[in-house]
């Protein structure tokens, strides 16, 4: 028997809407769950005082610093490299076997588990280059980890800039670099920022690669050659070693709020930039 289009239509709405609803409610559930347990602990004091007794008491200030510094360093290193690579691949080279191999390589790199990057960072930066467990080792490792994402999102964004813009720019006597700087990068900016934000998100939440390369020292770092502990690592250690469930949730809540606000600020900045341009 043939099912009427009217009914398949209704079924489709139910199925697609249901999937959306399920996804959203899971997301809300997780956030509410973490905040409900963590918010009672969370306070300015908690954020800005040093931990005591391995984190059983006191605040999480050093880990807050770690969670700001490491992703910043990672993004500062990975963005110019990634954007440069992506622009070179899309604007300066013709599509060929070589560019396809490079693209395949970056895709594979994006799929490698973070702990492998951690292991590499440990062997290369921490021991071979004798940087020790430090912010710089961790930042470099995270940079390598997020590089593929930044390259791919930038490539997509650059490719999406209309060909007409390039043609006009060249037809007015602009060089390739002038076209890249004045036309392509500004128009690809939203996509590039998305890639960078994905990178920030991944580095803030990363634990395995960070423990291997930045260590887990609870002291406030005084230079990039000091070890540090991020909030994510702090949460992991507090929960895993049963030190303090309460403070673990407090840290988790701080982490969730941090990620949300980073995204909100990026979104807001983006809108302002776009509004000014057009």
């Amino acid at each position: 028997m043939r099912i009427l289009p009217k009914h398949t239509q209704r079924a489709a709405i139910a199925a697609l809407g249901g999937a959306t609803l399920l996804t959203l409610s899971l997301l809300v559930f997780i956030i509410v769950f973490v905040l409900e347990k963590g918010l009672p602990v969370l306070s300015l004091r908690f954020l800005f005082t040093n931990p005591q007794d391995m984190g059983r008491a006191g605040g999480i200030f050093p880990t807050l610093v770690g969670s700001v510094v490491l992703p910043l360093l990672a993004v500062a290193i990975a963005t110019p490299l990634g954007v440069g690579t992506a622009v070179y691949l899309t604007e300066y080279t013709r599509e060929s076997r070589l560019t396809r191999v490079i693209r395949f390589g970056t895709d594979c790199l994006a799929g490698i588990p973070s702990i492998i990057f951690g292991l590499f960072g440990f062997i290369f930066f921490v021991t071979t280059l004798r940087m020790g467990w430090s912010i710089i080792s961790g930042g470099l490792t995270l940079a390598f980890m997020i590089l593929p994402t930044i390259i791919r999102t930038t490539e997509e964004a650059v490719r999406a800039v209309p060909r007409a813009y390039r043609e006009v720019s060249y037809s007015l006597g602009a060089t390739r670099w002038q076209t890249v700087r004045r036309v392509i990068l500004p128009n690809a900016l939203p996509g590039i920022v998305t890639g960078v934000m994905l990178g920030v998100g991944r580095s803030i939440g990363e634990t395995a690669a960070v423990i291997f390369t930045a260590g887990s020292s609870l002291r406030l770092p005084s230079s990039v050659f000091d070890s540090t502990r991020t909030m994510a690592v702090h949460f992991y250690i507090l929960a895993r070693e049963g030190i303090s469930t309460e403070n673990a949730y407090g840290t988790a809540a701080a982490l969730v709020i941090a990620v949300l606000s980073v995204n909100l600020i990026a979104y807001w900045l983006m809108n302002r930039v776009m509004a000014r341009r057009s």
Binding site: R94, E95, P162, A164, Y165, R166, E167, V168, S169, Y170, S171, L172, G173, A174, T175, Q178, R182, V183, N187, R277, S278
Partner: protein
């Protein structure tokens, strides 16, 4: 009148496809030269050879010569960026950058290294006046260019080109996205511009070619079938194929 551009024995290949076959023609100084022919005949390709826009297409090869004021623009020592400042282009669809009206007009100047605000402002005004757009946009120079009506956008593209003071203006079906009244305005503008510039235009619209051009070339399958004074091409075509096309029996 002298020849601004001389095209000799030009062949062009996209990969294995032979897109232009042994084309020779001239573009007269301070004249309007029209290229007509059915879709895919190579007229846009030929136009794009005149400022080497085809260089951007992978797998494109050119042989033969295109001389601008007697110097081959395909010579090994020819400089592409400076060529394109002398030979500018207006495209089929109005394509202002997503910037303000002002920033669009001065783009070419900034690229050429000019940053003096007063000079930029003067050139912007002169170019917008030259494109008959000044009165419409003088109060909204900082408004987004993409907010203008299509025909004003196209004239903005002309102004943007005039700002770099080209010698030759190439127009690739500049009116195909415009309505008849806007088309008429662009045509009037072309007649005005040819006093100071040399113009080559590709058009699908034979009436347009007949109305504005001094010389016409009819192309078919990559060949220049007939080239001559517009009047003669349209009233006494020497080639049977041209006659078929302009009388509407083909294409």
């Amino acid at each position: 009148m002298t020849n601004k551009i001389d095209i000799r024995d030009l062949d062009l290949f996209y990969g294995k496809f032979h897109a232009l076959k042994d084309v020779s023609m001239a573009v007269r100084q301070n004249g309007i030269t029209a290229l007509i022919g059915p879709s895919g005949c190579g007229k846009s390709t030929l136009l794009r050879c005149l400022n080497r826009m085809n260089d951007l297409i992978p797998g494109c090869r050119v042989s033969g010569s295109v001389a601008l004021d007697g110097r081959n623009i395909y010579a090994p020592d020819a400089e592409v960026a400076s060529l394109r400042k002398r030979v500018g282009m207006v495209f089929q669809r109005p394509n202002p950058f997503p910037l303000s009206v002002r920033d669009n007009v001065v783009y070419g100047l900034k690229v050429a290294g000019s940053h003096d605000r007063r000079q930029l402002a003067e050139t912007a005004e002169r170019s917008l006046r030259g494109a008959w757009l000044w009165d419409q946009v003088k109060d909204k120079l900082d408004a987004p260019a993409l907010g203008l009506p299509l025909d004003q956008q196209q004239r903005l593209c002309v102004a943007r080109l005039l700002a770099v003071q080209p010698e030759v203006i190439l127009m690739d079906e500049p009116c195909s996205a415009l309505d008849p009244i806007a088309t008429m305005k662009i045509e009037e503008l072309m007649l005005e511009l040819k006093r100071d510039y040399t113009i080559a235009i590709v058009t699908h619209n034979m009436q347009q070619a007949a109305r504005v051009s001094d010389f016409s070339g009819y192309m078919l399958l990559g060949e220049m079938v007939e080239f001559g004074e517009t009047n003669q091409v349209f009233t006494r075509p020497a080639d049977k194929r041209t006659e078929d096309y302009i009388t509407g029996r083909y294409g």
